[in-house]
């Protein structure tokens, strides 16, 4: 029993959960309005796009790579889809718009996949390159104007709510259907990771490429799938971002990648690959969203936001790395 407790305490998930709880306690003491349904539904809404991106990013980390281009994929897929829909068929129904954006995302992800899986280039450098290629292409050839006259069905989607209303205390809340998209992504990813051979292959790949190869896993195909899947998720996140913000802004999203990676590594996914959990990632997202939206509530000025996120990354990854180093040293 004690061993189990020790194990639980040593996990990143526990650490992040404790920090979140502490944050909420301090926040509700300093501002009684913090712990209300309104704040909660606001935070939930803010974590949809970040959450979907983080799930994709986690998959890449598990496979032993790193991706910094997914924000560019997301914004490109969103903007190209809105442009396409507005020029060809403005009344395009929203499921088709979404499918289109997911398709664009998967296509861009496949470009990453070619460089990484076929040519075997280092993932950080490839995705740094494609980040600027995708964004440069988007702003040069597709357009650089913000579009606020979105296709009507996209606006319609953003108004569809699972639940909305006012509590007895007078707090307004609204849960949009985009939340269902996040839930769907979580379920699908959990299924792939834990119930399919493909998922086992992704973990194996992150653990050791050579061992995976000798087990008979098609390393290239697995890697290729990972980058296409991440691209598709980014396309979904992008179009959700556009429809929820009721604006297609080609300058948005890029720059968010560090926060997403921060959320994922805080949740315990390891950069060397082979390890990562969805629970941890979602907790990491929750913490980052809290820091981004409510830092001021616990008395830290918002100018300290990036110091806080950076320090969280270093602490959240430094502690386990230090423990592992010491364990390795003890083992000789």
């Amino acid at each position: 029993m004690t061993n189990r407790w020790k194990e639980l305490l040593a996990r990143n998930e526990t650490l992040v959960a404790v920090v979140i709880v502490l944050f909420c306690i301090v926040a509700s003491i300093s501002d009684p309005n913090f712990f209300t349904v309104t704040t909660l539904s606001d935070l939930l809404r803010a974590s949809i796009v970040l959450g979907i991106l983080a799930i994709g990013c986690m998959l890449v980390l598990i496979s032993g790579g790193i991706d910094v281009s997914f924000t560019a994929v997301a914004v490109s897929a969103m903007y190209m889809t809105t442009k396409l829909s507005l020029t060809l068929w403005p009344e395009m129904p929203w499921p088709l718009i979404f499918a289109c954006s997911i398709g664009f995302g998967a296509l861009l992800g496949a470009i990453n996949g070619v460089f990484i899986a076929i040519f075997g280039l280092p993932t950080l450098i490839v995705t740094l390159g494609t980040l600027s290629v995708f964004r440069g292409f988007l702003l040069t050839f597709v357009g650089s104007d913000r579009i606020s006259a979105l296709p009507p069905d996209m606006r319609e989607f953003s108004r569809m709510m699972i639940a909305r209303g006012t509590t007895e205390g007078g707090d307004f809340y609204a849960l949009p259907w985009s939340l269902a998209a996040l839930a769907g992504v979580i379920l699908l990813t959990a299924f792939i990771l834990h119930k399919t051979m493909l998922g086992r292959s992704i973990f194996a790949l992150g653990g050791s490429v050579e061992s995976a190869r000798r087990l008979g896993i098609d390393v290239r195909r697995t890697q290729f799938f990972v980058y296409v899947y991440v691209g598709a998720l980014a396309g979904l996140a992008g179009i959700l971002h556009g429809s929820m913000g009721r604006m297609s802004d080609p300058f948005s999203l890029v720059g968010l990648e560090l926060s997403v990676i921060a959320a994922v590594v805080l949740g315990g996914a390891r950069l060397i690959g082979g390890y990562g959990t969805i629970t941890g990632t979602l907790l990491g997202v929750a913490l980052i969203v809290l820091v981004q939206n409510s830092l001021i509530v616990i008395g830290i000025p918002s100018t300290w936001q990036s110091v806080t996120i950076g320090a969280l990354i270093l602490l959240g990854t430094g502690l386990p790395a230090y423990q592992a180093k010491r364990a390795a040293a003890r083992a000789g």
């Binding site: 032993g64 790579g65 790193i66 460089f115 990484i116 040519f119 075997g120 280039l121 280092p122 993932t123 950080l124 450098i125 490839v126 740094l128 390159g129 494609t130 980040l131 600027s132 290629v133 964004r135 440069g136 292409f137 988007l138 702003l139 040069t140 650089s144 490429v209 050579e210 190869r213 390393v219 290239r220 890697q223 560090l258 990676i261 921060a262 590594v265 950069l271 060397i272 000025p301 100018t303 300290w304 936001q305 990036s306 110091v307 806080t308 996120i309 950076g310 320090a311 990354i313 270093l314 990854t317 430094g318 790395a321 230090y322 592992a324 180093k325």
Partner: protein
């Protein structure tokens, strides 16, 4: 990350630096042909010589960390933090009216402070990598956010300005006809070249980059080597920060954010192996020149900043594909064993 195989002795024409020299010349000729009267003008030559040292120095910082198989994603953060601290000293302690010896003294203090900040930041990165065992990507990603964050917190996000006139010497003056930033770049380049090729330290850096485990068994004090590498990278970044501050005549937390990609691009273009173990300063210099020719040329052809981003990124991918793909093996239809 796996190291690449040992490099055997090559003839001059096979060296990546030779290919790079050809690229640099080709780009120069191409731009000269496309826009002869403007690209070849003396004015353009001088302005190019003023422009490239700031990102070229960052690329040198990137180079030394890459030769150990690491990377420093915090270079821009360190440059801006050290610039903001130097700028704060110059504006609040010296003031814009300072002149003569007083101004010179404050400038020296500010420069010293910025170098100290760079060294401290590099030391911090080194501690994260060696003592805590963090992967360099994560360590410098996190610390870069922290450094930028401190700069934002100190300034509230706005630019610090109002320096004594003497500050502009670092970025805008010439000695005889040579721009001061170019002289700084030349000194640092030469210094790094000697350090990497003529000293025991440089040899150990390359050994560690080529094969960390072998270096460990060769009884090399790895922690000390890495610590020094990151401190040097931090101090180089601080120098770049001073040049940027002087040229912009202000300091701000988000200056030069596009320089990070550019620094990685230049190092990789310059033939530095991102897995460690190989990198020559002369390659980096050639890469810097090609990038600057390309950048100025595109500017004259009135290509937008976004298209330039596209071209830089595309170039990075192209060079990586050319440099690392074993074409003979691909055509032999055997599956290569390399992965990212």
């Amino acid at each position: 990350m796996s190291g690449s195989g040992p490099r055997t002795e090559q003839t001059l024409t096979q060296a990546p630096e030779f290919r790079l020299a050809i690229i640099a010349v080709l780009v120069f000729v191409l731009m000269a042909v496309l826009s002869p009267d403007r690209f070849l003008s003396a004015q353009n030559m001088t302005s190019m010589a003023f422009q490239f040292p700031e990102f070229a120095i960052l690329a040198l910082a990137m180079t030394i960390t890459m030769t150990t198989g690491g990377i420093d994603l915090s270079v821009v953060g360190v440059a801006n933090l050290s610039a903001v601290i130097a700028a704060t000293i110059l504006t609040s302690l010296a003031g814009p009216e300072a002149a003569g010896a007083v101004a010179f003294l404050w400038l020296a203090v500010a420069l010293g402070a910025s170098l100290a900040v760079g060294a401290a930041a590099g030391f911090f990165n080194g501690v994260l990598v060696t003592r805590l065992g963090l992967p360099p990507i994560l360590a410098t990603l996190g610390s870069g956010l922290v450094f930028t964050g401190f700069a934002v917190a100190m300034t509230g996000g706005s630019a610090v300005m109002g320096f004594p006139d003497i500050v502009s010497v670092i970025g805008n003056a010439t000695i005889w006809v040579i721009p001061v930033p170019l002289i700084l770049f030349a000194i640092l380049t030469l210094g790094l070249h000697i350090l990497l090729t003529r000293t025991g330290f440089g040899l150990r850096v390359m050994m560690y980059g080529a094969n960390p485990l072998a270096a460990l068994y060769a009884a090399i004090d790895i922690d000390r080597i890495l610590m020094r590498v990151y401190v040097i990278a931090g101090m180089f970044s601080a120098v770049a920060g001073m040049v940027i501050m002087s040229r912009a005549n202000s300091a701000k937390a988000d200056y030069g954010s596009s320089y990070l990609l550019l620094a990685v691009l230049i190092a990789v273009l310059g033939g530095v192996n991102p897995y460690g173990g190989y990198g020559r300063v002369v390659g980096v210099v050639l890469a810097v020149l090609s990038m600057q020719f390309l950048s100025s040329g595109l500017n004259m052809l009135q290509v937008s900043n976004f298209a330039r981003e596209l071209i830089w990124g595309g170039l990075l991918l192209l060079v990586m594909v050319i440099n690392t793909t074993d074409w003979a093996r691909l055509s032999a239809r055997r599956k290569p064993a390399k992965t990212g």
